[in-house]
């Protein structure tokens, strides 16, 4: 009993990250933490498989897609997904960089239906194309609108 046991402290976010890295060793480009949430930068091609894992793995249980948005960094477009595991209020932020000239990514609407409207909004205002989306159309702007207003080089019409 007197022997010293190695003390391993494993936090919730560390466990989550380990689960993802074990399943997809090459998916995570970078990881950090802010506001108690794990932030993972992912390879764009790995977003959908990681999301499927996040929701379907009972140990992870990320069942609630809180928000999807995008930022135009002028040299790339970055998507930001906020997902919560409601049962233990754990949050994760997934970030993906897309080529600004041809921003295309797999839709996660097959994982969370809440993505259907939110992806349409990102498509409408930022011009990101979500492949596999069931109904990808403009949503806030008229169908014949030209350009994507939240892009930094968008010229506001008179």
């Amino acid at each position: 009993m007197n022997e010293l046991q190695p003390l391993i402290i494993v936090t919730m976010t560390e466990l989550t990250e380990k689960n993802i890295r074990d399943a997809f060793p090459k998916a995570v480009v970078q990881s950090s933490e802010a506001d108690g949430a794990l932030i993972l930068k992912l390879n764009a091609t790995m977003l959908l498989p990681v999301c499927e894992l996040l929701r379907s793995n009972p140990e992870l249980g990320f069942d609630y897609l809180a928000d999807i948005t995008a930022i135009d960094w002028k040299d790339r477009i970055e998507l930001v997904y906020r997902i919560t595991a409601l049962a233990r209020n754990e949050k994760i932020v997934l970030r993906v960089d897309l080529d600004r000239a041809n921003p295309t990514i797999d839709s996660v609407s097959s994982v969370w239906k809440g993505a259907i409207f939110q992806e349409r909004e990102v498509y409408d205002l930022m011009g990101v194309v979500f492949t596999g989306h069931p109904d990808l159309r403009r949503i806030l702007l008229p169908e014949d609108w030209e350009g994507y207003p939240l892009r930094k080089d968008y010229v506001i019409p008179d």
């Binding site: 506001d35 609630y64 239906k113 809440g114 409207f117 702007l141």
Partner: protein, 368 residues
């Protein structure tokens, strides 16, 4: 005989000028007789491009625009935005201001739920409850007018506090409003909540299971009506909600009636919260000193609050300038409305009015 009668799917537009669509919403409905085959929402009529507007204005200049996002709950929109600015800027809020904010936010929630109550009744053909609800809401608007001079678009929150102190007489007037509202709530129940026609039109109608509600990213009373106890005030406490005694309201039915009852019960909870907070407001500063031309450090923040309609999230990205590099507004009305097609299918067209009403969307917040 019946096989000789030719039937076909009929396409029908509900809105954008229909009174029960709560503003300018168009539902493109496909009907098989009376039964809904599809109900696709067409939104954007009120789109003002607030995310782009935010990039073109200083942090303080944007506050009045938040009033116009969900115009039935402007105080709460103020709170979401200012909260994000404070979080990114590391701005402290004096305790007196926190309690005043809480009083305003909860009074606003009551005012918004009263509009819901009246509008729901009106949608289902009952006119009187609407007049009852607006009579009491008027008292709340009077209180807001006393505090900040405006009845709908308050522009009351500031980074680091609030713009004005509670005026003389506010305490007494607020207390007498609470007493009056408590006296009137049983009247609402007698007239409408326990009305057989209302129950027949809402119980078991438009059922959303807890699993579906979560999968559709619903939030607010529309999620709690499916039995999911998710309330940002409890799970990610902000302001001084953790210092008050209150409960998250849930109902397990998942139907129109459950979503309705959650909001009615939340009026009672909010009255208790305002009553407690009124007696807890400490003396002290109203606002910490922040420059009008506020610059926030480089970085980003996501701040969310429980608004009257659900989870309002504000995402701010700063490059260190006086204006945000990017601002995103997570709108609960928009996300909740996304579920309507799937919820309405299989119900009768008359139920669609009840289902839409029970999701309580505000088109200003949907379209932003």
């Amino acid at each position: 005989m019946s096989s000789r009668i030719r039937t076909e799917i009929v396409e029908m537009n509900m809105g954008p000028q229909h009174p029960s669509t709560h503003g300018v919403l168009r539902l493109a409905v496909r009907l098989d007789g009376e039964v809904i085959v599809e109900a696709k929402p067409d939104v954007g009529y009120l789109h003002r491009g607030i995310e782009k507007l935010a990039e073109l204005r200083s942090y303080v200049q944007f506050i009045p625009i938040t009033d116009r996002i969900d115009y039935l709950a402007s105080m709460l929109q103020n709170a979401a935005y200012v909260g994000a600015v404070e979080k990114l800027g590391g701005i402290e809020v004096p305790e007196r201001a926190e309690y005043i904010r809480l009083i305003m936010m909860e009074l606003q929630r009551i005012a918004s739920h009263l509009v819901f109550f009246g509008a729901m009744a009106l949608d289902l053909g009952a006119t009187t409850p609407f007049l009852y609800a607006f009579r009491e809401r008027e008292d709340i608007l009077d209180l807001f007018e006393m505090v900040c001079g405006a009845r709908l678009t308050y522009n009351y929150f500031r980074p680091g506090g609030v713009s004005r102190d509670l005026p003389a007489g506010f305490y007494a007037k607020a207390k007498s409003y609470i007493a009056k509202q408590r006296e009137k709530l049983p009247e609402y129940d007698d007239l409408f909540t326990c009305n057989q026609i209302f129950i027949a039109r809402t119980r078991g109608v438009g059922v959303i299971s807890a699993e579906d509600a979560i999968n559709w990213s619903l939030s607010g009373p529309s999620l709690r009506g499916s039995g999911v106890a998710y309330d940002v005030r409890k799970v990610d406490p902000y302001c001084v909600y953790d210092k008050l005694d209150w409960q998250v309201v849930t109902k397990n039915g998942g139907d129109v009636q459950s979503r309705f009852l959650v909001r009615v019960e939340e009026i009672r909870q909010s009255l208790n919260m305002v009553e407690q907070a009124l007696d807890m407001v400490p003396e002290g500063e109203l606002k910490c000193k922040t420059p009008l031309r506020l610059k926030l450090p480089e970085g980003e923040v996501y701040h969310h609050i429980e608004s009257a309609r659900g989870d309002v999230g504000v995402y701010l990205v700063s490059d260190g300038a006086e204006k945000p590099y990017r601002m995103h507004w997570r709108s609960p009305s928009f996300v909740n409305l996304g579920a309507i097609d799937s919820v309405a299918r299989g119900w009768k067209v008359a139920d669609l009015v009840a289902i839409l009403g029970s999701l309580d969307v505000v088109l200003g917040e949907v379209d932003r």
